[in-house]
């Protein structure tokens, strides 16, 4: 199957888990879901070994929003959303400071 290019962005401190990279340009197999992307990120790109800071019980941990092209993934089918060419997936952690 062909690969498609996507962009993954990290924010709100999550970039620290990924070698301080705020933006990754990735190629994923056509048909890859966002749920599968999360596993790919943990397996291949996460540098910090504390995976529980990103994934808990098989999904993104509480306190992290997942945005598909700037829309909450809950509007797009959550884990089951199938990635399309040029999609941008943004992971944002709750900020609390003031």
């Amino acid at each position: 199957m062909a690969n498609i290019p996507i962009t993954v962005e990290f924010s709100g401190g999550l970039e620290l888990l990924f070698a301080s990279e705020r933006s990754l340009s990735l190629e994923v197999a056509e048909g890859t879901t966002v749920g599968e992307l999360v596993n790919i990120l943990v397996d291949k790109h996460m540098v910090d070994t504390r995976t529980e800071l990103f994934v808990v019980d098989g999904t993104v941990r509480p306190g992290i929003l997942v945005l598909i092209n700037d829309a909450d993934w809950e509007l797009e089918g959550e884990e089951s959303y199938v990635l399309e060419k040029k999609d941008t997936i943004l992971f944002v952690s709750t900020l609390h400071g003031g």
């Binding site: 924010s11 709100g12 401190g13 999550l14 620290l16 888990l17 705020r22 529980e52 800071l53 808990v56 941990r61 509480p62 306190g63 929003l65 945005l67 700037d70 829309a71 909450d72 809950e74 509007l75 943004l90 944002v92 952690s93 709750t94 900020l95 609390h96 400071g97 003031g98």
Partner: protein
């Protein structure tokens, strides 16, 4: 309780002239500002600029809540405080400064921490709340109490180079029940203890938290002057109710839920994120499948323990 004020003084016309001439404000909007009571929770990096612009815009009553004392390390971002107030309550420092610029405003000091015992009692005396706090624990408390009291909250946060802003429990015609999402709808579950990293106070750039605080004031001015809060209580004056067209649309325009996200080192620093909106089964603003879970005045949760290693916790 605020006094109903039917009109503006000559001094007020002069002072607020450059916002009065705008169709988005006008006399009706200015009278709404004057007759509105706003509570600012947290007089730090967000609360200082927010209080400054709300006071100068002519909000009638400003409550300021914080239990902290001014410290030297606050001054790089908490722009109301000065050296002379080091060691004194932030609330008093702020009020002295605000009054020097605008004595028309009624300032109400609350030198206390917000907790489940006092939250509802304090919040129900105001028309609009600004959440300028610095801990997720308090953010859930503010939202839960505001939902019970039927108040809107403009909630912002900032850390390092980034910020977030959402309006919580906003009057709207686009959601059932006439209210937008609460804080729990945006962030349904608090992060687990394991994911909370304790590392003292997090770093933050002063102008980053400053931008977010000013944007909170702006959002508050927009909400108040539009008349969107008027469903919450009786109009404060006959004049106000009959004030005519500018800014009198009320709580009508359908607006999808959104979060403003600021990442100051990004090439496109601001993003408007489209959010899911209200959750029908939200334990605060919705109808949970188990009715016993529904948060009420007598069951506001204990927020002391839910997010890990104490008051200095910093979330990743």
């Amino acid at each position: 309780t605020p006094t109903a004020t039917p009109e503006l003084s000559a001094e007020e016309y002069l002072r607020y002239g450059r916002q009065l001439i705008m169709p988005q404000i006008g006399l009706p909007g200015q009278l709404r500002l004057k007759n509105t009571r706003v509570l600012i929770i947290g007089i730090g990096g967000l609360g200082c600029p927010a209080a400054s612009y709300l006071s100068s815009a002519g909000v009638g009553t400003l409550g300021l809540l914080d239990h902290d004392l001014v410290e030297l390390s606050n001054l790089h971002r908490q722009i109301l405080h000065t050296l002379a107030y080091i060691g004194r309550p932030k609330v008093l420092s702020a009020i002295d400064r605000l009054r020097a610029a605008n004595p028309n405003v009624t300032y109400i000091p609350h030198i206390t921490a917000l907790d489940k015992e006092n939250a509802l009692e304090i919040i129900q005396n105001y028309d609009l709340v600004l959440d300028c706090t610095d801990h997720p624990r308090v953010r859930y408390l503010v939202s839960d109490a505001a939902v019970i009291a039927g108040k809107t909250v403009v909630s912002a946060s900032a850390l390092k180079t980034e910020g977030q802003l959402v309006v919580v429990n906003k009057p709207t015609s686009s959601e059932e029940g006439g209210r937008g999402p609460c804080y729990r709808c945006y962030w349904p579950r608090p992060p687990p203890t394991e994911s909370v990293v304790s590392c003292g106070e997090g770093g933050v750039l002063g102008p980053v938290v400053g931008v977010m605080g000013v944007l909170q004031a702006l959002e508050a001015v927009k909400i108040i002057s539009s008349g969107a809060l008027e469903g919450q209580r009786a109009p404060a004056s006959a004049n106000e109710a009959a004030a005519g067209s500018p800014g009198t649309e009320g709580p009508s325009k359908p607006e999808p839920a959104s979060m403003l996200f600021f990442s100051s080192y990004s090439p496109t620093p601001f993003k408007t994120l489209r959010m899911k909106g209200r959750r029908a089964d939200c334990i605060s603003c919705g109808t949970p499948s188990d009715p016993a879970l529904k948060i009420t005045a007598s069951t506001i949760p204990d927020y002391d323990n839910f997010c890990g290693p104490g008051p200095d916790a910093v979330l990743l």
